[in-house]
Symmetry: C2
Subunit: 516 residues, 2 copies
């Protein structure tokens, strides 16, 4: 009740502290707040912060900026979580000096005033270790000595005295703003990544031949030379054959059509297996190892859905989002429809086993050295699921990076970054006029966004060939690449296809590559 | 974990629910929030609210406005506190109909689909009393009858079916936004009050004679006739004689000078006594009673400070903010200085007894029928003190109205309204250009302010004769009165002095009345 200071409007604070903000090692958090007290009291404020491995709080002074706004900054030196709070209090020493100066201005001060501040200085000195409190001891010794009153007054109004208040914060009757504010500190590269996406089945040096992980491995030096540091591969798992797509979204696959790699699972395996034509787990491990040597990480696709041949359909029918009549609903992503996959029912009665099984998929690949996961259509899965999954994986390996591979509403993109996605796709792909791009950049650099949302810019992706690139010439390609690469710390290209500036659309009016 | 809906950016919510918002009987609270889920799920949301005397929550549906913004409104029909929260969930019935319609568009639905929704309707019907669930029962009876499939499909895609989802909200896996959000509902007049201020000692019909409470009583019909409903009197307690002010802030009182009524207390009594020359407690009670008959409430001044002769100075020296050397600091309110009063030390070691004593002063007058208290210089007292005091008094009498009589920074004015002041003075008194007034009105009508801050407009007060009224003519007086009376539901005038358009300043450059 005796805490006179008011603290409010703290930045950063996401949804009242419900979600953590994001930083990287070597960065810092600028914490600001409106801090004020009644009357004309002198106040001080500091940020207290603590890494999850620390036992004690560290303290950094806040500075008074304009009006009632105060600011302080602490450095994020280690990965993991920091907690931070604000503490503010009436600075009795400084307030004493302020009112003493007024008295000196108006009348003759007495020894009584000095005696009071001697007591205050002694109390203060006791709160600091003897190795540090010498200036305080010197001060009260001078003020309690038999030197002339004039000399004491001169010291009491001096800048040396003023400095004591700043140097020795005397925290008493403090207000504490303590709302479980947290910052997650990741590795520096969470901010700076360059993605190169390719379909390994198209990585063969021989035209018409199914590529392999070994072929991909051979491409690493070339990818490195172009300056990329993450190689992102769409799903590399076995592909279902039931209702398999043919070329150009032909709903009936021709003989030898490989199908969509997002239709995961057949009798040979599911999300933890490698498509036999691509190679083996051993090949994959070799690829990851070779990548590490070149400074290239492998990014996998998290496509949490199953082909109609995935063995889970029989083992765990209640995990799936079948239609009431047992049929499989088609998944619509206008103008396209997907019949070759079935979605999970994340609220099924057996949801805990389903969620654990999905987490185990991620941990399986983490265990193989994968640090990057690009979630496929994450905006169609529950936010609480992602929040849980990402936290679970981070408990095992804090350096894992999750990318929300979504083109959806800004609110949902922001929501996904709140629940923990490290980076997020953007709608940059859709905007081409200067006005659109500027407006969009303003929107994604809002006060909340800049604390948690790390945009990744892509000129194209395999299933979007935007209007402005259809039949586009090399200037437009170069321009879009330049924008993507410079508007943020993260960008990526749909590798070979973008390099070759493929610009033919599937059909008139559709933003899809032909012959994809 | 299964709650897929996201609720955020709730309005009204003050400091994360730390402070209550304010309404009056017959009003309502519009609750809005961003509410969304992943994918394209159909969602519903409602506001749940509960008066402190209610056992059960009431529910009111929220409406989807633009983007992800939802709005609902509940009525505040009783004084006291309401708690409110938001609940949102996936509407399975509506979502079923939506996807069923898609199926109907694309292919031939089967009985299986219908069978599923029959189960859903049955489950739903069980959640509502039999007296109300007839439409649900009728629906599943029709859908499970042996009528032709075509007829069932027609019903399942009909508007009648759509209505069922709206009429019977089926709350499951709901997200609850539950942050101790509260609204205090006061009487209607908290919004609409007209103050007439007078010094009772100036209320005598005979010039030069000390007025009495009886004289004030005689003025009630006149005050009523002018349309005022609250009579505000500055302190009516005994006045100290030590360091008493004379006329025009002369630091030495002349013989017979009555002193400032804010210098409360002498040997005859303090904050619970009536100045002997004004009358008795009985006279005061008569005045309150007569006022009630005329429809005029009495507003008292809460001047929490003491004259140097208040008996508390000796009984409780540790309650006071003496200077370290035992002297009394002068209170500065530039350009003026007050030597005739001493402030309390709200953080004294004996603070609990001090706070209780101050609360008892308020309760003493509440017990005499006083419902309005205008706090004097409240911005120099701790905000936690006011929060505690107002809550304590409201426990005894919820209808008591506290007015923050401050001219101070907008943030502190807002802070005082957060901790519970019913109305607050404004800085309107200082602004005279159209630009200033417009800017100021915008500021005090901000999104937070409109939930909690009730401005009271005054053209002048006893200790401020603003520049624009010094030597001002009747047009300016009329204009300022008109503005004060129309800009908000609360205004007041420093009665007789304003009526007579006294416009002489104390001296050049000072915004103070001469001969006050």
């Amino acid at each position: 009740m005796k805490n006179r200071v008011f603290i409010e409007k703290v930045i950063p604070e996401i949804n009242g502290g419900r979600y953590y903000v994001k930083r990287t090692v070597g960065g810092g958090v600028v914490v600001s707040a409106n801090i004020f007290a009644d009357g004309h009291l002198s106040i001080r404020a500091c940020v207290l912060y603590k890494h999850e491995s620390d036992k004690k709080w560290s303290m950094v002074a806040m500075k008074h900026e304009s009006e009632d706004r105060w600011k302080g900054r602490f450095e994020t030196q280690k990965t993991g979580f920091y907690t931070y709070k604000i503490q503010a209090w009436v600075d009795r020493l400084t307030f004493w000096q302020k009112s003493f100066k007024e008295k000196v201005r108006d009348e003759e001060p007495t020894e009584g005033e000095i005696e009071y501040v001697v007591l205050l200085l002694k109390e203060l000195a006791e709160n600091f270790p003897k190795t540090k409190n010498q200036p305080l001891v010197n001060a009260y010794k001078l003020l309690s000595s038999d030197k002339p009153l004039e000399e004491k007054i001169d010291f009491a109004i001096s800048r040396d005295f003023t400095r004591l208040g700043r140097q020795f914060p005397y925290v008493k009757n403090e207000t504490v703003y303590d709302k479980n504010l947290r910052v997650r500190v990741g590795e520096h590269r969470e901010l700076f990544t360059t993605f190169y996406q390719l379909f390994p089945r198209s990585a063969s040096p021989k035209a018409g031949q199914h590529g392999t992980l070994k072929d991909v491995q051979n491409l690493l030096p070339r990818i490195k030379e172009m300056g990329f540091d993450v190689l992102y591969m769409p799903p590399i798992h076995p592909i279902g054959s039931t209702k398999r797509f043919g070329k150009n979204f032909n709903p009936i696959a021709g003989k030898g059509d490989p199908g969509s790699p997002w239709a995961i699972g057949d009798s040979s395996g599911g999300h933890k297996s490698i498509h036999p034509e691509l190679g083996t787990i051993k090949d994959f491990e070799n690829l990851v190892g070779a990548g590490k040597k070149e400074g290239i990480d492998i990014c996998m696709d998290l496509a949490f859905q199953c082909s109609l041949d995935h063995k889970w359909l029989k083992e765990h029918p209640d995990w799936f989002d079948f239609r009431p009549d047992g049929s499989i609903p088609c998944i619509e992503s206008p103008p396209l429809k997907y019949y070759d996959v079935v979605s999970f029912n994340f609220e099924s009665n057996d949801w805990e086993n389903l969620w654990n099984a999905l987490r185990d998929i991620v941990l399986f690949w983490v265990n193989k050295g994968v640090k990057f996961f690009r979630a496929s259509v994450p905006h169609n899965k529950p936010l609480p699921f992602w929040e849980w999954l990402i936290a679970e994986v981070h408990k095992v390996d804090h350096s894992v990076i999750f990318i929300a591979g979504s083109f959806t509403s800004p609110r949902l993109l922001l929501g996904m970054s709140k629940v923990g996605f490290t980076q997020s796709y953007t709608n940059f792909i859709k905007y081409d006029t200067r006005e659109e791009v500027e407006q969009y950049l303003k929107r994604i650099n809002g006060p909340e966004q800049r604390q948690i949302y790390r945009p990744s810019f892509w000129p194209t992706v395999p299933d979007i060939l935007p209007y402005h690139l259809i039949a586009g010439d090399s200037n437009i390609y170069a321009l879009r690449l330049l924008l993507a690469a410079t508007l943020s710390g993260s960008y990526g290209i749909y590798g070979p296809v973008f390099e070759l500036m493929e610009n033919e659309a599937l059909k008139n009016g559709i933003e899809q590559y032909a012959n994809s």
